[in-house]
């Protein structure tokens, strides 16, 4: 039996949780919101032509892996990443790491994670967890969205490391190999904030606040164009992406508000503290939006008005966030 002295800490989102936990293990104590903010985790994108689970793709976060890559670059970390074509080589490399007392981050598919409730088992291949030890029967797993540590058999871990479909992990494993003793936290925070403001205010039709407006327009058309059933299926997908496990609620807005609070302390910038409060209020409005949208799904309301009022809410959110990110941009100038 091999076991590294890794401490499990539950997080809202898997990717930030794994990074924060791996770095804390190396003596670089960072919080999940801090990693989320530095890695510019807040985002919005609408891809009407890309269908996920037979509904358009919406995302409240950037591409899987991007938050970590940005955060690592901005903090000056060196991260070793490996992918494998053979499961045997992937298992051997992982075992080597554990023997050398290196807790290791893995990208895995969710569908075959046996400790997840059945309702959550979708073919989503960009989940992250840490393997921190090995026993005679399997691996010791720290899945950041779980309250406590868990285990997977050798076969189970192989199956999730070699899950197939979009974003197939191909055994992807990663771990920090070098980290600065005194990282430039202030600089990293500023870069992270600037990047997020740029994303959310991007002059592109499907990204950031413009993406939200596009969704709002689409919502008003769904019921007449596609029928109530499909419209509700799309709405459910939007709500799930916003509120599902990993988002910390309100489409990551609360994690971001927590980051701004920490950033205000680090930078000694009280303006960020005020903006954190504003972001919390915006997050609450996103929750209101989810609540109303779920009511529309449930009642199967046939009045076109229900969809219009949802669209108005979303337009309002886009307006608020546009103003918010402009203020945020000038607050760090």
């Amino acid at each position: 039996m091999m076991q590294t002295d890794f401490k499990h800490r539950q997080s809202a989102h898997c990717e930030n949780g794994v990074i924060a936990n791996l770095l804390t293990d190396k003596g670089m104590a960072v919080s999940e919101p801090m990693m989320f903010g530095i890695g510019s985790g807040l985002f919005f994108v609408y891809l009407p032509f890309l269908k996920v689970n037979y509904a358009p793709a919406f995302s409240y976060r950037p591409m899987p892996g991007l938050i970590f890559r940005r955060a690592a670059k901005r903090l000056g970390l060196t991260v070793k990443r490996q992918k494998f074509s053979s499961p045997a080589a992937a298992a051997a490399a992982l075992d080597d790491n554990l023997r050398n007392n290196i807790p290791t981050g893995l990208q895995v598919g969710v569908y075959n994670l046996t400790y997840f409730p059945d309702e959550y088992r979708f073919h989503f291949n960009a989940h992250n967890l840490v393997v921190y030890g090995k026993t005679d029967t399997g691996y010791l797993i720290s899945d950041p969205v779980m309250e406590t540590v868990t285990t997977l058999t050798f076969q189970e871990l192989e199956r999730v490391r070699f899950a197939k479909g979009p974003f197939a992990p191909k055994g992807h494993m990663y771990y920090p190999t070098k980290w600065p003793e005194h990282p430039d936290l202030k600089g990293a925070i500023l870069k992270g904030i600037k990047n997020t403001c740029r994303d959310m205010l991007a002059p592109l039709p499907l990204i950031g606040v413009r993406g939200m407006r596009k969704v709002a327009d689409a919502i008003t058309k769904w019921p007449t164009k596609l029928g109530v059933k499909t419209a509700n299926h799309y709405l459910a997908q939007l709500v799930r992406m916003q509120e599902e496990i990993g988002t910390g609620g309100g489409g990551f807005r609360f994690i971001y508000a927590a980051f701004l609070q920490e950033a205000a302390d680090v930078l000694g910038n009280d303006r960020l503290l005020e903006l954190s409060g504003e972001m919390t209020a915006i997050g609450d409005l996103w929750r209101q939006f989810a609540l109303e949208a779920s009511r529309v799904c449930k009642n199967r309301s046939t009045q076109p008005d229900a969809y219009n009022s949802l669209a108005i809410r979303l337009q309002n959110l886009a307006d608020l966030e546009e103003a918010f990110f402009k203020k945020l941009r000038s607050a760090i100038k």
Partner: protein, 134 residues
């Protein structure tokens, strides 16, 4: 969201005794974390998605029984896959997977191809060849 307003509804997670971490503010407005057992709007959205999947499974079953589709089509839906995912697991092209949805084509598949699909569903090749959906 204030810490004492974090919903504790019965959700799909609470059945398995799982709670998720939520960021919320304390009395002084500082951020802290707390656990939530679930929130009704989320459960509604999730069950809506699951209903849609179950409908697809039922539809696939009807097609298999009506001789319009092979069991491959039904098993794909049952495992919540779509064509790109199934093609990925079977290590083949999407157009071939679609062709194998035809009962007469599926009947004649060689052992190697059957084994690939069987592995994708975690069953034995024999079980796949003689699979009778209920």
């Amino acid at each position: 969201m204030k810490k004492d307003e974090v919903p504790q509804d019965d959700g799909s997670l609470s059945k398995s005794n799982l709670k998720e971490l939520i960021y919320a503010t304390d009395e002084g407005g500082r951020y802290t974390t707390t656990l939530s057992s679930g929130w009704e709007p989320k459960s509604i959205a999730l069950s809506q998605s699951l209903d849609a999947i179950n409908e697809r499974v039922a539809d696939a079953l009807a097609k298999v029984k009506g001789g319009e589709a092979s069991v491959l089509y039904y098993l794909m839906e049952l495992h919540r896959m779509d064509v790109p995912v199934l093609a990925g697991y079977a290590g083949t092209w999407q157009w071939r997977v679609k062709r194998h949805f035809k009962p007469e084509v599926f009947e004649k598949l060689d052992d190697r191809t059957i084994k690939k699909y069987a592995d994708a569903f975690g069953m034995s090749p024999d079980a796949l060849r003689h699979f009778k959906p209920e």
